[in-house]
Structures are given as C-alpha cells and as structure tokens.
C-alpha cells in the first residue's frame, strides 16, 4: 500500500515537474484547448439562450375554454381539477364571468368603444379557463380532454379557442421551437466532437514530440502506468488550466459587453439572458468545463501514449 502511494506521488510529482519544464509545449497545447473549450462553452450558453426564448414563447401560449353561463362554478372547478392532474398542463387559471370581464377591460383599456359596448349589453364575457401547456407539443392532448362530450357541453360553441388561425399560429411556433431545440442540441454535440478531436490531436502532437522519452523509459524497465502516468497528469493540468482560462475569457467578454447586451435585443431572442445564465450557473459551468478539459485531456494522452508503449512482438 505504502509503495503504491509512493508510486502515485512520484507520478503526480513528475507530471507537475514535466509540465513546468515543457512550458513552450504546454502553452501551445493550452492555447488550442482554451479556444476549443471556449467554443464548447459558447455553444452551451447559446443553446441555453435559445431554450429560454422557447420557454418564453411557451409561457405566452394558452388554450382558453369559454364556459356557458349555465355552467355552475362547481362544474367549472371539477374541470379545472381534471386539467391540473394532466402532466401536459403547466398551469390552469379559472376566471368567473366578473373576473373575465375585468381582464377583458384591462386588456382593452385603450379601446373605449369596446369597453362601453361591453357595459351596455351587460357582461357578455363568458367565464374562462386558461390552460398553459408544459410543452407546446402537448396542446392536442389538452384539446382532446376539453372536447370530450361531457366537457363540450360545459363550453360555448367554438370553445376551446385552439382552432382556426390561432391553431395555425401555435402549430407554426411549436414547429419552430422544436427545430430550434434540435439545432441547439446538434450544435453542442457537433462542437463538442470537433473540439474533442482538436484537443486529441494537440495532445497527440505534444506526446509525439516526446516519444523518445517513452522509448527510453521502456528500455529501462519502467512499467506502463509509471510511464503513462506523468503524461496523463500533464494533460489533466492542461485541461484544468484551459477550462479556467476559457471561463475567464467568457466572463471578461460578458463584463466588457454588459451595457451593450442590456440595451440590445433581437426580437424574441433575449441576448442579455446569456449573461444572466452565465452568472447564475458560473460554478456549474466551471465544473463542467474542468471535467470536459480533464476527461478529454487524459483520455487523449492515454490513447496517444499507447502506440509508443507497445512491445515488438515479431
């Protein structure tokens, strides 16, 4: 046990010393890794910003069920309870006739004619149940519940509102958000694979430059782990430092552009959310970057040293 600990300590110590003695090589490898890890981080933040935009769009879309005046409040509450049980439903809001009228007036406060007309004919606004879906793809499922024969009887003709032009608009938004999600995930995966390959090649080149050392250590009788270990430690240091530098670069970029971000907008896309997301998830992103850097770095060095550690068998 003690001997294993000594060996482990020697491997770590040698890795650190080698890192410091090969500064030029280390700087070159770290520079490439910083760029690639920054690309991964950037694509993650961009994806989160898209997700936020999709969530904002989803939150604004609801299905409205308009209830007949003959429908009692007790019947309405049974329907609300039924809807709340559905996993596809994020939130349900019930407005009785009075509350629905108030909401209508509030929505149309600038249109005095509409408000006067509503007051003249009494309260023409039906009691309304507003259903917010947890996922836009689940709207049809909610509609199926609302259009069962017993639930249809409770609603005015034409209810629920997920029909006609509005249906087309919601379907278009649903399709667009689905495509955006897929693009986001594919982009992150593609960037991650490209970056992993770049880091692998960088470390492979760094180890190629020192292949003679591996051969000499082999000739002296060093075991595979004892030769490979310091290279793995060195690569782990590359990964750790690259991750930290990458996070610092993104952090500096957000700090430098914070005012510009707050003032800018790309329609629905809330760019400022990227900065908020980065601040809120700083330590998670740092941990993730370090994990990615160390895992790709160490795996690359294990693979890259393999070919120089082989014995001649023929």
């Amino acid at each position: 046990m003690e001997r294993r600990l000594i060996t482990l300590w020697r491997i770590i110590h040698t890795g650190i010393v080698n890192f410091m003695r090969n500064v030029t090589l280390a700087v070159a490898a770290i520079a490439v890794m910083v760029v690639t890890l920054t690309i991964i981080l950037f694509s993650l933040i961009t994806n989160a910003t898209f997700e936020n935009t999709i969530a904002q769009i989803t939150n604004k879309i609801s299905i409205s069920a308009y209830l007949e005046d003959t429908t009692t409040e007790a019947q309405a509450k049974v329907l609300v309870a039924q809807l709340k049980k559905q996993p596809s439903v994020h939130r349900v809001q019930y407005l009785n006739k009075d509350a629905a009228l108030k909401a209508y007036i509030a929505q149309n406060k600038n249109n005095q004619n509409l408000i006067t007309a509503a007051a003249t004919v009494g309260n023409p606004i039906p009691a309304t149940i507003q259903i917010y879906p947890s996922d836009l793809n689940e709207i049809q499922h909610i509609k199926d519940i609302l259009t069962t024969p017993e639930n249809t009887k409770l609603q005015t003709p034409g209810s629920p509102s997920y029909n006609g032009d509005r249906k087309q608009a919601i379907d278009n938004i649903t399709h667009a958000t689905n495509v955006l999600r897929k693009i986001g995930v594919v982009t992150v995966i593609v960037f991650a694979i490209i970056c992993a390959l770049i880091i692998f090649n960088t470390i492979q080149m760094a180890i190629f430059n020192r292949r003679d050392e591996i051969t000499i250590m082999r000739l002296l009788g060093a075991g595979t782990g004892y030769i490979r270990g310091p290279f793995v430690v060195e690569s782990a240091i590359y990964g750790l430092l690259s991750a930290v530098f990458s996070i610092l670069i993104i952090n500096s970029a957000f700090l430098a552009s914070s005012n510009a971000l707050q003032a800018s907008s790309l329609g629905l896309l809330d760019i400022n959310y990227a900065s908020q997301y980065f601040d809120a998830h700083f330590f998670q992103l740092l941990t993730l970057q370090i994990a990615i850097g160390i895992i790709i770095g160490t795996a690359s060095s294990v693979i890259a040293t393999h070919r120089y550690l082989k014995f001649k068998t023929k």
Binding site: I6, D212, A222, K312, T313
Partner: protein, 227 residues
C-alpha cells in the same frame, strides 16, 4: 549467466541475415568484449538480449529467464535485472543528472531515503559529483556517458550490457569509462561490452568474441586474459 543457442535474426524488409546461428555462453562475473565491424551484428545481439527484438529462431536464456517463455508484461521485469549502457546514451532530456540516475531506482519502488543515499554514491563512482542538477544538454559527451553508466549500475544488476560506450568519447574519457566498467566487474557484475576500439581490446586482456557478417568467427581469451 547468458546463453545464446543458435540464435538467428532476420529482418523482413532487409536482405540478408543480421545474426546467423550465433551461440554464446557467458559465465557469471565474466567480462566479455564483442568486436566486429559496423553492421556485423553486435548491436542486434544486444537488442536481442534487452528484448528490443525477438530472434527469428534459436534460444536465449539470461539467468533463469527463458526468453521463449517471456510474456510482454514481464519484459519490464527482465529489463530491470539488466543494466544497459547505450551508445547514444539515451538519457531522459527533461531530467537532471540526479533524476536520470534516480529514475532507475524509482521504477522498482525504492524508497526516497534509499535513493537519496545511493544516487550520490554512484555519481561519485563515475566522477560526476557536483553535477547532479545539470540537465543532459549541459554535459559533455563523456559526462553523458558516465551518467548512462551510473544509471545502469545504480540498481547493482547481475548483468551489464554496454553498447559501444566509448564510441563518442576521446581516448582519455574512453579509458575513464572502461575503468568504471572494470570496477563494476570486480564487484561481481557480468559485463558484456561491444567496441570498435582496438586499443581497449588489447589493453583489457579479456575474452574477445568476434562477429563478422552475423556469425561468430572467433571466441578466445586475449593474451594475458585470466578468468
């Protein structure tokens, strides 16, 4: 004990045979000089002994280790039992003189205390005291060769193989190296030395094996050789 029995080595890509049915028996504590022209097969012979190469046919036994039965995972264990001085030194370029010698002990799990005790003594034997912190690139050819010798003997191997250890040295440094090898041999280590240097062969008065065209053409004691 080193035993080679009708060992042949053919390289697939090159024409001819590097070694052709060579047989050699070296007793424990013996000092044997292998001579021959460039390309005669001396280095191939040593590469077979360190298991850098495998023979095409024939049998090799060192101590109690039969190379036919040696698995890949056991090759490092074999190499730890043999000290090797390479013609091109093969020092680790990123390690100091001290670290290069200590490395041979570290890989066999020797404690730090023992390393701190042993390495300075060995560096003293090869006259490198005071140069412990130098990097190999800061040393002369002779000094590098002595580091290689220190690294080869620090584990006190039963067998020391030296491949043209004087090839890159001036006469004075060459003799310094040979004296170290003789000293090691007196302590009981079997030494197998390859050289071009006729002067060394004549003055050492040891058993001389001549290899020509991959064959042993002569195996005799030099004048005055006593074993």
């Amino acid at each position: 004990m080193i035993l080679l029995d009708r060992v042949t080595k053919k390289y697939v890509r090159s024409e001819g045979t590097a070694l052709d049915r060579i047989s050699l028996h070296v007793e424990p504590k013996e000092f044997v000089i292998v001579i021959g022209q460039s390309g005669a097969g001396k280095t191939t012979l040593l590469r077979l002994l360190t298991r850098e190469e495998r023979p095409t046919s024939g049998k090799i036994i060192i101590g109690s280790i039969d190379y036919d039965k040696l698995k890949d995972k056991d090759i490092p264990l074999l190499r730890r039992k043999i000290g090797v001085v390479f013609q091109d030194f093969k020092l680790l370029p990123n390690k100091t003189v001290y670290e290069n010698v200590a490395f041979a002990l570290e890989i066999v799990g020797v404690s730090n205390r023992e390393i701190r005790h042993t390495v300075p003594k060995v560096l003293n034997i090869v006259n490198l005291k005071g140069k412990e912190d130098r990097m190999p690139r800061q040393l002369s050819g002779g000094e590098r060769q002595r580091v290689a010798i220190a690294r080869a003997i620090v584990r006190q191997p039963r067998i020391l193989i030296a491949d043209e250890p004087t090839g890159n040295l001036d006469p004075k440094h060459a003799w310094d190296v040979i004296k170290v090898l003789e000293k090691i041999n007196r302590y009981g280590t079997t030494v197998l030395l390859t050289t071009h240097n006729r002067d060394i062969v004549d003055k050492l008065k040891r058993r001389v094996v001549v290899i020509q065209g991959g064959k042993v053409t002569s195996d005799r004691a030099s004048a005055g050789y006593k074993h």
